[in-house]
Symmetry: C2
Subunit: 202 residues, 2 copies
DNA sequence: CCTGCAATTGACCGTCCGGTCAAATATTCA
DNA sequence: TGAATATTTGACCGGACGGTCAATTGCAGG
């Protein structure tokens, strides 16, 4: 992307991306407006377009870094490590991502819900490749009898689904648990650890 | 809602709701346009507004019936039944809902992602009540030693997350599995059955 | 056939949207 | 300081949006 030179450029383009993340993640691409983003960022609309040439450019700038960040925890899963602990560490890292970056998770969810028009090639490329690669590792672990045999790709899907649920359906989670339980993550962590320990035990 | 009297009203208001489901589920409320819905429905825009007074009214009409349909499988979970089989039956019914009504699932996901502005009270009311009620049943089963002890509400969350993932993230699922595996549901069913059998085994 | 109501639509309205532009203001640096 | 450059903005544009309305067409029953 564009490299901000001055401090003002640095500060403003960051403020824009942060505001855009806020708005895009809540309303999706078409539902978000430049005026909204400008207001959240504390800038005028023409000033937004001084830093980014179009609404789409802002969206692309947000998405471009996102997929890598999102997949990093999976990349860190070490083929040479202890299988169950590696998988549980992945679950934990992914859950922390949901807790600490829920807007990013919702931005991604919105993009996928809308058919992934802007990151389809990345999904069919990098993401698919990485998943297939890690699925091969999982299969090897199963062949070696170190974890139970299940469909490796669906195993990865289930980690995504379970962890992202707490970010994407945050409103529902809090509504069901009630105001007495303001932070569901400690319980979620315990629960998910149980789920995958029992699933993978040989 | 309004009771359609004539066959024409029946046919058209159904066509409108079907078209609106298509468009809303893909673009969210703000991202959808009446012209788009009208085109999909094969009607003129003023004709849409002859059957429904506003864009919001269409959206509300769609959502009003949805939550009940969505929760029905959970309601059917029989407190007098065999615990593991009841839970697995719930998982299966929920997964079939994802397979057969993916647009409804995405509509719901969109609404929650956007903060559930139009169904928050229903979520904090009916949905919360039902979940708490069924969580009590699960807790009783755990007390009786008929299923393993885990957090009952998170158990329900995990069923939602795992089953809805296949509808909401459909694009990603197919991209990762590739064109060789056009229908992920048989494998998903097997996988989820394994997950919950192992999780709940005493 | 006619009457009366149901259904449909072209034309239109005010507003909002993404984006442009020229002018004004701040900042940098020789 | 002053010239050059970076930043900011009010005013505006064309098109799309949600919604209205008067007028037309379709249709059922007497």
């Amino acid at each position: 992307m564009s490299k901000p030179r001055t401090r003002i450029q640095q500060r403003n383009s960051e403020a824009i991306l942060d505001a855009a993340l806020e708005v895009f993640s809540q309303h999706g691409f078409r539902g978000a407006t430049l005026d909204q983003i400008a207001e959240v960022a504390g800038l005028s609309k023409p000033n937004l377009l001084y830093y980014y040439p179009s609404k789409e450019a802002i969206h692309v700038a947000l998405l471009s870094g996102l997929l890598d960040t999102w997949l990093d925890p999976l990349r860190e899963m070490d083929p040479a490590g202890e299988p169950v602990e590696e998988l549980l560490a992945y679950v934990r890292r992914k859950l922390e991502l949901s807790r600490d970056f829920p807007r990013e998770s919702r931005l991604f969810a919105n993009e996928i819900l809308q058919g992934a028009p802007r990151i389809q090639e990345a999904i069919e490329g990098d993401l698919r490749t990485l998943v297939q690669e890690k699925a091969a590792v999982l299969t090897r672990w199963m062949d070696e009898g170190r974890i139970a045999r299940v469909h490796p790709v669906h195993l990865i899907f289930s980690i995504w689904a379970l962890t992202q649920h707490y970010a994407d359906f945050d409103v529902q989670v809090h509504a069901v648990l009630g105001p007495a339980e303001p932070d569901p993550y400690p319980e979620a962590h315990l629960y998910l650890e149980t789920v995958f320990r029992r699933l993978l035990a040989v």
